[in-house]
């Protein structure tokens, strides 16, 4: 491994700091200013560069013994290290949460897990899919997040097929836009866009669980039968 840049510890101008360290290491104290400067990669001290402030700060005396500061710094670092280890050990830590998701294969942040939404791509046949809202899903803002989630996740799982939630060209950036689109495609539209299934989301009971219903369509865009229900 690399040594820290040794120049860092040399007074840039061959000043007392430089000579003092040299004496500590048993070297000749007769180092000239020019020699000391040459050790600093040939740079001459430039008053323009630091206007004398750098040397002043470097030579600044502190009241507390330097060793005290050093121990204080170590104490802070070790305290933080110990605190982070303790944090990771806590039941609600990110580490534990990640492990729980891995072990149980569930996603606590959503009502529907990714595996459940990904079933749409399996049940939807080989074509594109359209999403229709029914009941409270059309108006209840509580559905915004779940609609957003179903749209993003299904589009990912279906690709290169698509889940349509709005007419082409409409900007969809979140669940509110999906609700606002009031998407109700005609059989002709479904046929023109290669839709092989329609997913309906919603529930007539405002407090009920979200229901996903997948219905396959014939080539003319008309329903065949019900093929899936979550």
């Amino acid at each position: 491994l690399d040594e820290p840049d040794s120049d860092y510890y040399v007074g840039d101008d061959g000043s007392e700091a430089t000579r003092q360290i040299g004496r500590e290491e048993g070297l000749k104290p007769s180092r000239t200013k020019a020699q000391a400067a040459s050790m600093n990669r040939g740079r001459q001290p430039s008053s323009r560069r630091n206007r004398g402030k750098r040397e002043k700060i470097l030579k600044k005396r502190t009241r507390m013994p330097a060793g005290g500061f050093r121990y204080l710094a170590w104490g802070i670092v070790l305290l933080v290290l110990a605190q982070l280890c303790w944090l990771q050990w806590q039941p609600e830590s990110e580490l534990r949460r990640g492990s729980a998701v891995t072990m149980k294969s569930t996603d606590g942040t959503t009502i529907l897990g990714p595996e459940q939404v990904d079933r749409i791509s399996v049940l939807a046949g080989s074509g594109n899919v359209a999403l229709k809202l029914v009941g409270h899903a059309k108006t209840n803002p509580a559905y915004e997040n779940i609609l957003e989630y179903i749209y993003y996740r299904s589009n990912y799982a279906l690709y290169p097929r698509r889940l349509y939630v709005a007419p082409v060209g409409r900007i969809i950036k979140d669940g509110r836009d999906i609700m606002g689109a009031q998407f109700d495609p005609t059989p002709q539209w479904l046929q023109a866009h290669g839709i092989s299934s329609v997913v309906t989301v919603g529930n007539d009971d405002p407090g009920g669980t979200v229901r996903l219903n997948i219905q396959q369509l014939d080539p003319a865009g008309m329903p065949i039968d019900r093929t899936g229900d979550d």
């Binding site: 933080v80 993003y152 690709y159």
Partner: protein, 471 residues
Amino acid sequence: MAFLACCLYLLLITLVGYILLSVIHSSDRLTIVELSTLSPAIGAGSMGLLLFWASLLGFTPSRMMLGGIGISALAGLLVLKRKNRLARIRSVTADWKGGDWWAFVPLVAILAGFAMIAVNALSSPLREWDAYAIWGFKAKMLVHEALYPIPGDFQDLTLSYSHLDYPLMVPFLTAGAYAAMGTVDDHLGKLVSVYLDLLLVPMVYLGLRWKLQRLPAVCLSAILALLPVIFRYAGVGCADLPLAMFYAGSIFYVARWIDQQKKQDLILAILFSAFAAFTKNEGLVVALMNGLVILGFGIWAGRERRWVGAAAFFAGLLAIDAAWLIWSRNLPHSHEDYGSRLLSSQVVTRLPELKQIVPAMLVQTMEFRDWGLFWIMAGALAVLGLRALARPYVLALWILLGLHLVSYALAYSVAPSELPVLMLVTMNRLLLHAVPAAALLAGWHWAEVGTDLRRSSGGARAARLQRAAGR
């Protein structure tokens, strides 16, 4: 079999990086940490750009393409070997002092954290919303369709949620893994994410080790590796940690360039800045800031070479990212479109929002469940080693960190979304981008605390003094 293919792909990335590193550090002897960090990091950035350029020519990532890159890399390796220009591992390393053996304790903590992140990542599909809605979705698009002609999906407004104008580094690297595996498997595809995300820690270690002894450098790296927010976002398939990793490399080499004016440092600063700009839109902003700081310190020093350095930086950045900037300029921007908003009068009219944003950022740094005491520690070390402010490269890094945070605060101020909700969801991720700068500053200030740190480097210094006396 797919796992093996994915590992071979990562090996290819590392090989490409090693060759480029050998070109930059021709015949130099590098430490094993430098080689094992810079090779994958440079390789990842270069592979992402290579796949992007190939896609612009109409080629989607495929095994044949990766094979071609592999054969070219091997040929390059042979040529460099014959010319004796390969970067080599430095055999004589710094002595291990008595206390250095304690470094194994934080090192074990780092490796245990890495193992947990890798296991968690590889045992589940993409779960993070941004990971599948933006990055994973685009990876699927890119492995399926080339960028020329522009695919319809990149202009479809119903896909606005996936931020069609976002840079494509992570999607291309993931698409490369899918191509290598011959299938779209997002369990194994997350190996790329793990590989990129975890590089952040050794990258920051490199910067810390520049000024710190082994033990304190490893301790600070362990603190970085154990941050809850790292566990939250590592291996999930998002671009935040890759951005932080490239950013870490860029600011470290910008600082070294300001301190030493070695051309290798400037080249690496250009490369990492360009990679960051191709990873996230925030990366372009920080890349430009890097250039401005190089320029500013060049003007301050009044040296011609530093002017040249700034000019070379901007030219290099533009050359590497030009294709992306040109190709993406006609893509539909998302409703956020921070670039346009930050250049409009909104920046001025919405300045009062900062009264809400700055306190929220400060509160976020105190959020123990995300950061522990990290930010407080960084501040305390900065105070204890205040003298480090006299070093131009430390000052440069403070300026970079300040500009970085100011740019994020301004971005929040012009955000179209509801500010409290937006900050709640994104603040920890955005501060994560700035963590490398904070960690490096903590370390470089720590190096100035007390006099014993000076003595601890006495061996190397004494050797240097003796060499100088001999001359």
